[in-house]
């Protein structure tokens, strides 16, 4: 983890309200594993006051990509950054997805902006020579981001592209009609979708790792502000910023 001032090299709206921001950082480009995030100070006045966490979406040479939705004040300011502007950030932070364990087929399941961490994961999985199937869900066709993903299948709430339904329906239909060898699910998206996904994975006995997005104050384990309930023995809560943001879905209770 390092604290750096980096330079924005590009920042474009790639889908409805969805921005792709690239910045230069050798260190972060080299050190980041899929599922990790950077914590960005979007302004040096105190509004918004806290840093804003964003998954590293992809790395290309010394360029690092983040993908973000404009949902409030912080992302608004971030969307106004121009090439040459600087960003004050801490990263890479958090525990990455595990890509080394005993699986052969990665089932990547993303809801909306949950797609953010998966381009980088895809690159790593390819290096590990894993099979990859990607299931992407969004409200409508305009909000889809499909770059740098493999074997893509799409579901939209309004049916404007792909299956009309949830990304879980999409996954389920596929698995009913195909057999996949040694599957493992990688999921990211809204909490409701993650709840459904982890139930599904549990029922189907498919190993499943999820990336969570909870409110954070520090992002580095200082404040104890980001608990998620543990399912099993031991401490009652885990810290999303340190012990996560990726968790095996059997470990945690999503609420």
């Amino acid at each position: 983890m390092t604290h750096e001032i980096v330079t924005v090299s590009s920042n474009n709206e790639v889908a409805e309200g969805l921005f792709l921001l690239r910045f230069q950082s050798d260190r972060i480009a080299r050190a980041t594993a899929p599922g990790q995030f950077v914590n960005i100070r979007v302004t040096d006045v105190f509004v918004p006051f806290l840093r804003r966490p964003f998954s590293v979406s992809r790395v290309e040479g010394r360029l690092v990509e983040i993908l973000f939705n404009v949902v409030g004040g912080g992302t608004q300011i971030l969307s106004s950054k121009r090439p040459g502007d600087t960003l004050d950030l801490l990263g890479p932070l958090g525990k990455p997805f595990d890509v080394h364990d005993e699986f052969e087929t990665a089932l990547i399941v993303a809801g909306g902006l949950g797609v953010a961490p998966f381009p980088l994961l895809t690159d790593w999985l390819l290096r590990e020579e894993k099979q990859i199937l990607t299931f992407l869900g969004a409200r409508n066709a305009y909000q889809l981001y499909k770059q740098h993903l493999k074997n893509l299948r799409v579901a939209t709430d309004d049916g404007s592209e792909g299956l009309k339904g949830t990304v879980i329906d999409l996954l389920d239909r596929y698995l009913q009609t195909h057999t996949v060898s040694k599957p493992k699910i990688f999921g990211c998206g809204p909490t409701k979708m993650l709840q459904a996904l982890s139930e599904y994975a549990h029922r189907k006995r498919i190993p499943c790792e999820l990336s969570l997005e909870g409110e954070m104050a520090c992002g580095i384990g200082l404040c104890q502000g980001c608990p998620v309930e543990r399912r099993n023995s031991g401490a009652k809560y885990a810290l999303v910023c340190k012990e996560g943001p990726t968790f095996n879905c059997e470990e945690i209770v999503l609420s």
Partner: protein, 314 residues
């Protein structure tokens, strides 16, 4: 070279900037990111006798120029601290202040006694902003006789510097400071967080699981300065000034109104190096002002108005 250090009892703090309890973990989270030896001291997260899980989510919420927290004193417990954290902390040169939380006077005593024996523990800071189970959960910190009793009991148990951390959520904080002094405290820390809350109008639910929480950050700096000033007018024991300190200028304000040293809290969440930056900034500022000792700033505010509750300001 400007003198930066100060002492409480026989303990020397290499400079006047510490990091505040609950905002720097146990000092081991930021290895590689912060050179903690350049801090005047580290105050640990509050430790209780048994480990505490803390409050359910959501525990933090952003507010204008600040934040609310409702951590619930989540901590690993004093024994685990001694076994797992202290060995590393002992290797540091910076002073170690262990902060103690409890739900009974006896628990305060037990935790302090156990720690008092440990090598590497330099001083104690007592967090009295804790619910007193005996009194149905009323905070010790808002009851002056309670604060005095805790101080008296703990004073009897240790020769190390004893610092009582006061809550701002009272009418006259100076009464509490006086009680602490009379009971033998070596210093007081001013202030802990201010009671606050926020509501998510989308869900119509309070943002924090506990409804109310503790407000911190620049928003409370003017409140903290007024409390430190009030205490400085009332007692002559050292004050550790806390509340919304983000920059060296903020720290200077606290010293000028009477703080002997400062603690940096929430700022660590935005930049864990803030404490070090401020410590070095203070030394540089003192040089520019041709001071020989940063301590010359303490209480140096130039005010003809003697403190008076007579003022009505609206």
């Amino acid at each position: 070279m400007v003198k930066q250090s100060f002492t409480l009892r026989d303990v020397e703090f290499t400079n006047r900037v510490l990091v505040a309890s609950g905002t720097f973990g146990y000092g081991d989270e930021v290895k590689g990111l912060v050179d903690v030896n350049r801090l005047g001291g580290i105050v640990t997260k509050s430790l209780s006798w048994k480990p505490r899980e803390g409050n359910p989510p959501r525990r933090v919420a952003e507010t204008p120029c600040g934040m609310l927290n409702s951590i619930g004193l989540a901590n690993i417990g004093v024994q685990k601290f001694i076994d797992e954290k202290l060995p590393y902390l002992r290797t540091l040169e910076t002073a170690l202040v262990v902060n103690i939380a409890a739900s009974s006077v006896q628990e305060y005593c037990d935790v302090l006694s156990l720690l008092d024996k440990q090598e590497g523990v330099d001083a104690f800071e007592i967090n009295v902003s804790c619910p007193n189970v005996k009194e149905g959960g009323l905070s010790f910190g808002t009851d002056c006789t309670m604060v005095k009793e805790i101080t008296t009991r703990l004073r009897a148990l240790t020769e190390k510097p004893l610092i009582i951390k006061l809550t701002p959520n009272v009418a006259h904080i100076s009464e509490f400071a006086r009680a602490c002094k009379e009971a033998g405290a070596d210093a007081v820390s001013v202030i802990n967080t201010v009671v606050g809350m926020a509501v998510d109008i989308k869900t119509k639910k309070p943002k924090l699981s506990t409804v109310t929480g503790g407000l911190s950050g620049p928003a409370i700096k003017p409140i903290a300065l007024a409390k430190v000033y009030e205490v400085a007018q009332a007692v002559d024991i050292p004050i550790l000034g806390i509340g919304g300190i983000m920059t060296v200028e903020d720290a200077i304000e606290f010293l000028l109104v009477g703080a002997t040293a400062v603690q940096v809290g929430t700022a660590n969440f935005i930049d864990p190096n803030t404490g070090v930056t401020i410590a070095e900034g203070l030394a540089r500022y003192a040089e520019q002002q041709h001071l020989t000792d940063v301590g010359q700033l303490v209480g140096a505010m130039d005010s003809n108005v003697e403190f008076s509750v007579l003022q009505s300001w609206l």
